[in-house]
């Protein structure tokens, strides 16, 4: 939460000048964009007659109707409690999004037919590639972070070269480099291990910086207290520093995990049958592109929401020792 003042301010959306200006703004916006040819025009047919013939009057009527509904909505939401407000706005935006998808006239039977395969093959592959990569990436990252913070020139050089290299290159390039490059050295590598390797190394490079900043954020006094009790470096790191660094790094790590989940779609480039690959190919023969792409998009989103939920749970767990 941001810092909230103890003096309650008036509800913004109940101030007449604010409502009027929003109304004017929305009206203007929809006067500029001609909606007479869209589904909204069809909805307004009882008022404006044939939408395409309605001209400027039709445009104005549509803009007026939208602005009025929008402002009414705004004022009404202003009366609700915080939780209710959040729920209502989420629901409304979701409905608009669904309306957007509905405009594609998707073939639901086709989705119903192919979805099980998309999930059983694509989703499962995506999840296990991501999960394995996250584990490897975390291990790589923590080692690299310690190396970068150490006074050891060799370790520092290797770690900083690694992060520079893997952060400085598109992930797609890295995937190709590993998949097509390693066989040149005699290691013929399958697509899935190649993808996992590239993802782990790339995400690990970003995570290195997250871990490094997390470790640095811990007060020197903690090191001193721990070392002065006789704890060694590794014990101090594992039991004193990292447990305190974790709450600091959870939000950026959540970010990283979500980004990586979606970056795993890049391994489709080397023919791994994960979610994106199947979404692109399954619908191709019957020209049902949109069905599969939207299904995959929704699945990605749902997975991200799961990760967000996990993140907020973890954050709450760690909030314990900070609570007053």
């Amino acid at each position: 939460m941001l810092y909230s003042d103890t003096v309650e301010s008036e509800v913004l959306v109940h101030k007449p000048w604010f409502v009027v200006s929003i109304f004017a703004l929305v009206l203007l916006l929809f006067l500029v964009f001609n909606l007479t040819g869209t589904a909204v025009g069809e909805l307004m047919r009882p008022v404006i007659g044939d939408p395409l013939q309605s001209g400027l009057y039709g445009r104005f009527a549509i803009a007026f109707a939208i602005a009025a509904i929008f402002c009414l909505n705004l004022v009404l939401i202003g009366f609700a409690s915080l939780r209710l407000q959040i729920g209502i706005v989420w629901l409304e935006v979701l409905l608009l999004l669904l309306a957007f998808f509905a405009a594609f006239h998707l073939s639901l039977p086709f989705i119903r037919e192919k979805l099980p395969f998309l999930i059983a093959q694509g989703l499962v592959t995506t999840i296990y590639i991501s999960a394995i990569s996250i584990i490897f990436a975390s291990i790589v990252a923590i080692v690299a972070a310690v190396a970068k913070l150490s006074g050891n020139g060799f370790a520092y050089a290797i770690a900083s070269f690694y992060t520079s290299f893997f952060r400085g290159m598109p992930l797609l390039m890295q995937i190709y480099l590993i998949y097509l490059g390693l066989p040149q050295l005699g290691f013929v590598i399958d697509a899935v291990p190649a993808g996992v390797l590239a993802l782990s190394l790339c995400v690990g490079a970003y995570m290195t910086e997250i871990f490094r900043s997390g470790i640095l954020s811990i007060d020197r006094g903690q090191w001193e207290a721990s070392r002065s009790m006789g704890f060694g470096f590794s014990l101090t790191m594992r039991r004193i520093i990292l447990p305190q660094a974790l709450p600091v790094i959870v939000p950026p790590m959540g970010n990283m995990f979500i980004a990586m989940l979606k970056d795993s779609s890049l391994v489709s480039a080397i023919g791994v049958w994960e979610l994106t690959f199947l979404a692109r190919t399954v619908g191709q023969d019957s020209f049902h592109h949109m069905e599969m792409l939207i299904s995959a998009a929704v699945i990605y989103w749902l997975m991200s929401i799961c990760l967000e939920l996990v993140q907020s749970r973890v954050e709450r767990r760690f909030a314990r020792s900070k609570a007053r």
Partner: protein, 290 residues
């Protein structure tokens, strides 16, 4: 003073004089470095817990400590005072090797401190340290803070460590806070937990690095009380502090440091009533006047 009077004959050297009767000496003699020093050292080595000889330390080109000589005997309570930047914190941080010294010799509990030592943990587990900012582990309960040392360093089983921790929390009179987290305690309570945490390791000597400097006046009293009761029980202590009342009541010796040197040392009654150096007089007049 716990050193027997019968040893007098053996202990004629400078170091003996320093720890026992420094105020009787002309000032120039308060910094020993003579040949006789080494010879007598063997005789009293057993009861010296900290022994610093001609210790010097630099930060870059800046000399923070200059030729420090100090012996701390078992059961002795030493208070080090001096203006900020005089090197007093740096000095006691050298005693558990949180800081490295560049010249001279520091021997703690019979182990010589140097930068290639493998057994710095051995030294540290026998030297408790209390910091100005407490430095409790915020992710652990008070009880856990006091349990981890014995468990991880001495391999004490959990139940024994818990019993041990509760014993020392009772010693600092806050057993009822055992299951709270450090942030839920007041500054004074946190510092007492920090003292208990160090005591749990049953160290041979306790170092206090300005333990009351970041506390409210009201909380200073409770921490000093805890420290006084420790002193009464015969704990060997080296305290960097500005609490002159504490020094007067508890210390066997008071050391005054300025610009990295021990300028003056003496028994509290002599130190406070009859300081020899102008710098000491100035410091005392300033610190006691308010």
């Amino acid at each position: 003073m716990n050193v027997g009077q019968g040893n007098e004959a053996k202990n004629v050297s400078m170091s003996r004089l320093i720890s026992e009767v420094p105020v009787d000496l002309p000032q120039a003699d308060s910094i020993p470095g003579r040949a006789s020093f080494r010879q007598e050292q063997a005789a009293v080595a057993e009861d010296k817990i900290i022994e610093a000889r001609k210790v010097s330390k630099w930060y870059g080109t800046f000399r923070v400590l200059t030729d420090i000589n100090l012996n701390v005997r078992k059961g002795e309570r030493i208070v080090i005072c001096g203006p900020s930047g005089s090197g007093k914190s740096t000095l006691i941080r050298c005693f558990n090797r949180l800081e490295a010294h560049q010249e001279g010799e520091i021997i703690v509990n019979g182990i010589r401190l140097h930068n290639k030592m493998r057994n710095v943990g051995e030294v540290r587990k026998n030297v408790g340290m209390v910091f100005q900012h407490f430095n409790l582990f915020p992710h652990m309960t008070v009880l856990m803070n006091c349990m981890v040392g014995p468990m991880w360093i001495k391999g004490m089983p959990e139940t024994a460590a818990r019993r041990n921790a509760l014993r020392f929390l009772e010693r600092v009179r806050i057993p009822e806070q055992a299951d709270k987290y450090p942030v839920q305690l007041s500054g004074g309570q946190q510092q007492r937990v920090a003292i208990a945490r160090s005591l749990c390791m049953e160290p041979a000597v306790m170092l206090f690095d300005e333990p009351t400097s970041s506390l409210d006046p009201e909380m200073v009293a409770e921490v000093l009380e805890t420290m006084t009761s420790l002193a009464r029980d015969g704990m060997t202590m080296v305290c960097v502090t500005h609490e002159m009342g504490f020094a007067r009541a508890v210390a066997d010796r008071v050391l005054f440091m300025d610009t990295g040197r021990i300028v003056e040392e003496g028994k509290p009654q002599d130190f406070f009533t009859n300081p020899q150096h102008d710098r000491t007089k100035l410091f005392l007049s300033q610190i006691l006047s308010h």
